[in-house]
């Protein structure tokens, strides 16, 4: 039959590669691989596992963000709100919600469910309002909502968020397997599981009917409406899915870091996500993963570099910039935008085709 279609002949190679990568990452805590300069120590050490787990969570967060931006063309400046909602939501529920007669594990599970539902309601509310406008206005409304969240967290209403000090995880009802340095391995596996789940959900959404409509909406919204489809519905769907994924990642972040700091609710944090996605390559799903991991490891290692003797011995002109990891990352980002429009993931394509491609160009930043 000649009616063969693109998604039917799913290439086996990427699937096998993906499975191998996940298996490889899963056995990492059992191995003793040392990558000097990149990782702080051998892969079985808690410090390295903590860093890798953090990198995977950031990659998962970036994946969801990329789905909004790259698939549906929604440039949100407020994604941090949902990440923070996950982290703070779970933290506050665990602290506040504790019927004494319930077993700890049940409280833990119910807290997660409560946070998820809360996040879902928040995402639907913010999305329903923000999606009534498009382009820059959409970006600004999401920024505003996130800013409101950030302000609330800092103001520490009723002592619930811990204000500038941040919130520390109340471990009373957290399963003991997820607590403490000795269990970093488990937290690492949890982070890997979150990354895999987020990846599969994103893949599912992108390949679903709604995903196709979202891609079409990004390219020509009026044309979609003329077909009798309502872009608002699919955009809201993508927004809510991405936001709920951020809530999930936020919860894992709280467990991994044993707390949350108000920094994760700021506009800067969303901008960092944008940096990660662009750094990795907007046009590619695995670009967000690569971007997230590269960014986190760079950030961490550059901080280590900044504190190193080698830098301390330099003259001030070099020492001051080199001791600021964000300065180097920011500069690197500017260079990538200027000279490497496809991001890191776009490199093979660029080398193959030898021409510059701008994955961002299909989308225009105009007001509706």
């Amino acid at each position: 039959m000649s009616r063969r279609t693109r998604w039917q002949n799913t290439a086996l190679l990427p699937v096998i590669g993906g499975v191998l990568a996940v298996v490889g990452l899963a056995v990492l805590p059992l191995l003793a691989i040392d990558v000097p300069g990149v990782l702080p120590g051998p892969t079985y050490t808690p410090g390295t596992l903590q860093l890798l787990a953090y990198a995977m969570l950031i990659a998962a967060l970036a994946l969801g963000y990329r789905m909004m931006f790259g698939l549906a063309g929604l440039l949100s400046f407020g994604h941090a709100l949902f990440f923070a909602a996950g982290a703070y939501g779970l933290g506050m529920t665990l602290e506040a919600f504790a019927p004494p007669e319930w077993p700890g594990d049940l409280i833990f599970v119910v807290s997660i469910l409560v946070t998820l539902v809360g996040g879902l309601v928040l995402a639907m509310t913010v999305g329903a309002l923000a999606l009534r406008v498009t382009g820059i206005s959409f970006a600004m409304v999401t920024l505003a909502f996130a800013q409101a969240g950030s302000v609330l967290i800092r103001r520490n209403p009723g002592g619930a968020t811990g204000g500038d000090e941040g919130l520390s995880l109340d471990i009373e009802h957290v399963p003991s397997a997820l607590v403490g340095v000795v269990n970093t391995r488990n937290l690492y596996w949890l982070a890997l599981a979150v990354l895999v789940v987020v990846y599969l959900v994103v893949l599912w959404v992108e390949r679903s009917r709604a995903g196709h409509v979202a891609a079409a909406t990004r390219e020509n919204e009026l044309r979609v409406r003329v077909l009798g489809l309502r872009p608002y519905t699919v955009k809201l769907l993508v927004f809510v899915v991405a936001s709920v994924l951020a809530v999930v990642v936020g919860m894992a972040y709280l467990l991994l870091q044993s707390g949350a700091s108000p920094r994760i609710a700021t506009a800067d944090f969303t901008l960092t996500l944008l940096v990660i996605v662009v750094l990795g390559g907007v046009g590619y799903r695995w670009g967000a993963i690569v971007g997230g991991i590269v960014y986190t490891i760079l950030d961490q290692r550059l901080t280590a570099l900044a504190g190193s003797d080698a830098v301390a011995g330099l003259p001030a002109v070099l020492r001051v910039p080199l001791s600021e990891p964000l300065f180097i990352l920011g500069t690197l980002f500017v260079l990538v935008v200027l000279f490497l429009p496809g991001g890191i993931a776009g490199l093979p394509q660029r080398i193959r085709s030898g021409r510059v491609r701008h994955p961002l160009e299909a989308e225009e930043a105009t007001d509706a």
Binding site: Q147, A148, E324, V334, L338
Partner: protein
């Protein structure tokens, strides 16, 4: 009554600061479609260098403040013009990437400022009169508010005169409407891009120095805080509209003051709600043009 007067005048003073930042943002967006995230960094570098210059000349005097203001404006204009020339221009008409470059620049700049001047606020000295108060209708108004309002009015008047009385102003006004047609009349519209960046940078630079007077300190994050409110003001006023930015600056700042006083310090939240409401009712902002 005296509370109301105090809140209004303090609101006007804060609104003046917002306007100094928002005017440049709005002009840049209107003419070039660039959302400039680096605008806060222009403000911060101007505030730091203005303060460095002022304290070397004469700390805490009018003379020192004047030097600070002049240096701040010059630094703001220069840094902004260089940014446009070396970074933004390379990405001609690619608006999202232009915004991204300014995001990267602002992240890098704030980090660099922290490296140079540290993460803690540096407290600044100001002329004695500015630390005193004046009584109006029973309200004791800190004098620095008057300085802020006066400066913003001068800047607003200056920009309006420039836009309406000079050829470059004419080009900029025409360019906000239709850039392509301006080039099709034989005018190098890119030169006005640099100019608009420089003007916006100068206004932000002055804003930086005045912000250090208002808050009493300079810090690496001075610009980031003001930038968020300037964005909100710009959007509420209508992207690209200078009058809109001026009106919205005052509205937002006064609203913020009143909410802070009467609604238990919820000023920031109320402003955010106001933004959401305005955008949902009038997506183009108060004075935004019909597309």
């Amino acid at each position: 009554m005296s509370t109301v007067v105090l809140l209004v005048i303090t609101g006007l003073g804060l609104g003046a600061l917002y306007f100094l930042v928002a005017s440049g943002l709005s002009l840049i967006y209107g003419l070039m479609g660039v959302l400039n995230f680096a605008h806060g960094a222009f403000l911060t570098i101007s505030a730091f260098l203005g303060w460095e210059a002022g304290r070397r000349v004469s700390d805490g005097t009018w003379w020192g403040l004047a030097v600070s203001a002049l240096v701040g404006m010059a630094v703001g204009a220069l840094v902004a013009a260089l940014t446009e020339y070396f970074l933004i221009r390379r990405l001609y008409e690619r608006h999202i990437e232009q915004a991204l470059v300014t995001v990267g620049l602002s992240l890098a700049a704030v980090a660099l400022f922290e490296g140079i001047w540290g993460t803690d606020p540096i407290y600044t000295a100001k002329p004695e009169w500015l630390t005193e108060t004046t009584e109006i209708l029973g309200a004791r108004i800190p004098n620095d508010r008057f300085l802020l309002i006066a400066c913003a009015l001068v800047v607003l008047g200056g920009i309006v005169l420039f836009l309406h009385r000079t050829r470059y102003g004419l080009i900029i006004r025409a360019g906000v409407e239709n850039r392509q047609m301006v080039s099709a009349l034989g005018i190098d519209v890119r030169r006005s891009f640099t100019l608009v960046f420089a003007i916006g940078g100068a206004a932000a630079g002055l804003g930086g120095v005045l912000a250090s007077v208002y808050y009493g300190y300079v810090s690496a994050h001075l610009g980031s805080v003001l930038l968020i409110f300037a964005f909100i003001v710009t959007v509420i006023g209508g992207l690209g509209s200078l009058t809109g930015a001026a009106v919205a600056s005052v509205l937002v700042a006064v609203l913020q003051q009143f909410a802070n006083f009467y609604l238990g310090g919820t000023g920031d939240l109320v402003v955010v709600v106001a933004l959401a409401v305005v955008l949902l009712i009038r997506p183009r902002g108060l004075m935004g043009k019909v597309a």
